[in-house]
Symmetry: C2
Subunit: 293 residues, 2 copies
Amino acid sequence: MRILVTGAGGFIGKAAVRALTAAGHEVCGIYRKAPPAGAAASVVVADLEDRRQVAAILRDVRPDVILHLAWSVEHGKFWTSPDNLDCVTWTLALARAAAEAGCRRFVGVGTCFEYEFPASGDCDEFTTPVGPRTLYGAAKDACRRCLETYFRDAGLSFAWARVFYPYGPGEHPDRLVPSLAAKLAAGEPALLSSGRMVADFIHVDDVAGALAALCASDVSGPVNVGTGQGVAVAEIARRLAEIAGRPDLLRIGALPDREGEPVRVVGSVHRLTREVKFKPRISLTDGIAAYFR
Amino acid sequence: MRILVTGAGGFIGKAAVRALTAAGHEVCGIYRKAPPAGAAASVVVADLEDRRQVAAILRDVRPDVILHLAWSVEHGKFWTSPDNLDCVTWTLALARAAAEAGCRRFVGVGTCFEYEFPASGDCDEFTTPVGPRTLYGAAKDACRRCLETYFRDAGLSFAWARVFYPYGPGEHPDRLVPSLAAKLAAGEPALLSSGRMVADFIHVDDVAGALAALCASDVSGPVNVGTGQGVAVAEIARRLAEIAGRPDLLRIGALPDREGEPVRVVGSVHRLTREVKFKPRISLTDGIAAYFR
């Protein structure tokens, strides 16, 4: 299949290009800037804000499937950035261009932060209420709602991946796992909140594998992309410190818990495993060990 | 107060400009084409798709409040038109420009078609689930969701009017009330479905009055704009035929019911009457009688 990937140069995008290429697809990547090493076989440098250019690219590439990953995710700012509104705009323009160019399937990428997190249990695609607290979550959810109806009317197949807590190579260095790993590797104290929050951490290569399988499937609607396993943040920190051989550097509870932080963010993976038929392969232990190699 | 009205030349827009002006506000209207007779005191002709122009207008006008009515509502097409996606884009860009220009309050205009209509009872802003069946409803709802979070973060006051079944002068001639009235006035048979559907018809001048009151209030979140009274479509047709003195021309049941049409679309008006303190003034009998003057 010919698959067009937006945001191909991003954290998940790079891994997705690799996974789709490995699965034998003809991959065209849209990059905002010059493409990195290991870019897609076919490369387009474009600004998704330019809807005429986007429409021209789609007419030219004629993809069977679009995997839309591009979003504004500046670390520390993306939760509330007004740029989220522009991301909605690009996404809707891309969707319209996709339908007009005769594309068959569109896979959008959302987030677990669309859910109103339950106090216990897992987030289910159909029974857990949607209720984002942030503009990031609201903007992603708004896209899903528009696209679900638009593509239904236009006769395109549509799925919406809700990605849980991705980690792995290429992640922003200030995010949880790499920042703790860097402190421990440098022999500096690693400061943490209570670390009670339980989250569904999934390796970026498994996110990419899941998205590749979702692109090739006909599964429609929202699909959680997680492992189905919750791990407390403090437990990850302990494992990292153990691998680093420096449990003495760990300062659990040294930082305050973030106000309003959810207690548990774990995705039910029934749809991913049974319908998309994808199972995550990389254990958390193996995934985080890679930070010290 | 200085109030900027988008879609000022539209069916509801014209009435809103009159109501806001009558309430003593300084009204600036944005018109897509040359403004009609009875336009706002201050007039701007602009295309909301041009976000730079929109930002410049807002910086220039510096409104206290924006009443955003502009939307693509081509009769018979707007339910499913892809233009709904572009309307989301304009709306988000306008919202961002409003916050950046120091606007204090934003009143967006949605629709009762955002609701998942209950089989009985009235649609309530907080207890009736949202579940639009059409792209029009989904796009309006997506805007509300994004703007609610965006304006919360930006510190602007935000309300979202859900308008029920507006009718009255300036309405598209092919819509229910004017088309039946025209047939009856011309002495031609007036064909109708079973007319069992019960809807909340509200005169456009009452819609405008409600929106003007909402602009001047500090009420936030979704607010139904209806009368709280349901009337069967067949009953309206009977009253029209009676006023026209031609009950013999009425053919109730001559047309099939529309598939998937809701049974009852009536809005709870607790918020409108108690919080916004607006009560509709024009009875359905008076409102439809005007079609024969």
